[in-house]
Symmetry: C2
Subunit: 457 residues, 2 copies
């Protein structure tokens, strides 16, 4: 039997090397295809061709009784390797802007910060008091990885009241900020080689986390001309059997768009048809200027996931408290991962969030709304067009000028005028746009716009 | 040219399916090998055979000008798939114990918690005051993803003073707890298919994080009979060209072992020879009973990584503040990932940690040392043998009884006697051992041991 074992091991080795031989051949072909595409001026990534190939892999696996997950993983490795050969990125990224703004300030220069979405308001005082009270109560030991029961119950109650839902505490997971909530969602629900679709312009971490985890991010472009509404045909065309999740983010960063109920229904309809998770990042939900916001949860779709946090709504950015709402079995998967990765959240921070829920935050919303209106008015003197925001903390103007390059503009605004912005290229292929955040007092905002005007003349 | 493109796409498809055909063949072979192994009573995982195969893959890739990382990724997928077919796990895991203990308490039963390493002391008061002061100072905004400069400087100074080092603030990254520090280290330095070695018995998350990330964890057994010292020959035998990191954890959880300087030098020598990272998890460093502890950093090896936290040393478990010390370029990689995953840590928590460094914590160490001595004395009445701890918060006795099964013992102790313990099987193949933590007052500890005695009679 030892001899048989040896023989089979030799066979395993030979097959392994034969697989690699084919991998090599495949890379060579991919490179040749890349060359042809360049000559024909076609994009490097072709999601339709890719989706078809994935379908064939799944069919093959099903036919041959091989785990399709494994087939997809192998394919995903191969595809990512091919694309890596052909991409480059020289955007003046948001993190470079932040870094450079800091450097300039160290040198004694003044910078107006319109590059990040951090409100200039103090945190609600209930949050500050809440921490102290939590410490007095001795809430500083290891705690439930899912989050404090009282906070989860209270959040469930809050959502149930606002939206007439029927959430229970076990539908909620408390996380160290909305960013980690995203990471947990992707990491626990999606596997390497699977696909998500998302709408560009888009908050960059969605895509970055996908890249980190080998998940395929399929971007669907939206346009200012169409009021940043998703084109349903384009959505349909980009979904395949491999798509597992649709990511949306309304109120939107960077466009300020909020979809109508009908538009939401259309998207959810597609998610249902394809049995997709649909994730709405609702961190800006309290900043809705034209009427009450409708959470994704009100559409009553079983595979909905809502991410939110206290960072914007209660101006608690540095507290790092976020949460995820989803069906119980989905939350359970995430809790396991959260437990492995961070053990638990500080319980006194969660108590602080609990207390923060008692605060009145209407004044925050009113002030940001006023800023949006004033800034929109002033922007009309500039050679730009833009969507007047329905909500969130940003405006995303497009500059109407030939030869305009948003990276260059953002550099000039920072180095010549001391105004920090985010280039449109951070959010997708929007080289004519830039994002400004409404997180400074109105005078500073208007001052900045006057400087932009000067630069654009 | 369009025709050529079509033709090449067809070729890509054919090659992809041919690869999958071979993958299928390979899995079939792996299953047959598994069957033979079972008949011969050989273990499912054979690290030597695996290492040889990986060597051949690397050689092939180098010869054929194919990226060896890609080759390893493909192989890693295949190997993990094969092993998945043949494993099972029915341990009464630590998390089950914790869950069950909670359930019993809810039912009104009393439980003595010796299952987790959370000290029964109050956090140092400087930490509690520090949070309040940090809030008064307005430290509640987004902050540097690397951590607060003042805390990093102060930690560098602290280590430089204690160990005569030359650390700078950029050698340090502040993390939300030691657990996340581990995750960041693995995720930013190791790729799928690469290997780490670690010494069993071992704290389970090391292995679990590897499994999550597709990193191969190669366990090296240590034995009570050899005073839990690593067998250098065994280490040599288990390292391959694929090994990237050696994980150590002294003072050790669960054994309480601290290696001698000579033993450390031997391990570091091997790490140097193979150009490995060496990670020491030093969260228990302040709990050293037989003289001052020597950090891994004192051995002056460039690829050293030290993880630590305030959870044990300052009894700040629920504050979730940990840190990583390594060379600057290593820290930089980790910072990128931390920024993507959690944005930043709450700055007032970091201020609290800064203040905690002013606290005197000698009384914690003395109390735990006393507990270790008293418990060791009392354990001598039981049919067990064990290593009297040099440090940390645990004792890991082995029961000298035929037919003893630690899972069953842990269940009996919990359900019959209300004492929560951790089975040896959590830490590797140690079905005769159990771990008790020294995190309860001495009377409770002795009472628990009397109950164990009863159960073992």
């Amino acid at each position: 039997m030892m001899e048989e074992l040896k023989g089979k091991r030799k066979e395993i080795k030979d097959i392994t090397l034969k697989i690699l031989e084919l991998v090599k051949k495949r890379l060579k072909l991919a490179k040749e295809i890349g060359d042809i595409k360049r000559k024909l001026n076609l994009p490097v990534e072709d999601y339709n061709v890719e989706a078809e190939l994935k379908r064939e892999v799944i069919d093959y696996c099903n036919r041959e009784n091989l785990d399709p997950q494994l087939g997809l993983k192998v394919l995903s490795l191969l595809i990512q390797e091919s694309i890596k050969l052909e991409k480059e990125n020289d955007t003046f990224t948001l993190s470079k802007v932040i870094q450079e703004a800091k450097r300039l300030e160290k040198e004694g220069k003044e910078v107006i910060h319109l590059e990040v979405g951090e409100l200039d308001f103090e945190p609600v005082k209930e949050a500050l008091e809440g921490i102290k009270e939590g410490l007095r109560k001795g809430l500083y030991r290891y705690s439930d990885a899912k989050g404090d029961l009282e906070l989860r119950s209270r959040l469930a109650k809050e959502f149930n009241q606002i939206y007439s839902l029927n959430l229970k505490e076990d539908n909620i997971l408390i996380t160290p900020g909305g960013r980690f909530a995203l990471y947990l969602t992707f990491k626990s629900l999606l596997k390497m080689g699977e696909e998500v679709i998302g709408f560009e312009p888009i908050y960059p971490p969605y895509r970055q986390i996908c890249e980190l985890e080998g998940i395929r991010f399929i971007p669907i472009r939206t346009e200012l001309e169409k009021g940043w509404s998703p084109d349903i045909n384009l959505v349909q065309k980009n979904i395949s059997k491999l798509t597992r999740m649709m990511i949306i983010n309304y109120p939107n960063n960077p466009t300020g768009k909020i979809l109508s109920r009908k538009e939401m229904e259309e998207l959810i309809g597609i998610a249902k048809d394809w049995d997709l998770f649909i994730l709405n990042d609702e961190v800006y939900s309290s900043f809705s200027f034209k009427g009450p916001f409708n959470s994704l949860l009100t559409f009553n779709y079983d595979k909905s996931i809502v991410i939110s946090s206290f960072s914007k709504s209660h101006s608690m950015s540095g507290f790092r408290v976020g949460y995820i709402i989803a069906k119980e079995e989905t939350i359970d998967k995430m809790v396991k991962l959260q437990s492995l990765m961070i053990t638990c959240m500080p319980p006194f921070l969660q108590y602080s969030a609990l207390k923060a829920l008692e605060a009145k935050t209407k004044k925050f919303v009113e002030e940001v709304k006023r800023r949006a209106e004033e800034v929109s008015k002033r922007l009309k003197d500039l050679p730009v067009r833009f969507y007047e925001p329905d909500g969130a903390l940003y405006i995303f103007p497009e500059v109407i000028k030939k030869e305009f390059n948003s990276d260059k503009f953002v550099k000039d605004m920072l180095y010549k005028h001391g105004v920090a912005l985010a280039s449109g290229k951070n959010f997708g292929d929007y080289p004519k746009n830039f994002r400004l955040s409404l997180c400074q007092p109105i005078e500073r905002l208007l001052e900045s716009i006057d400087k932009m005007k000067k630069e654009l003349e």
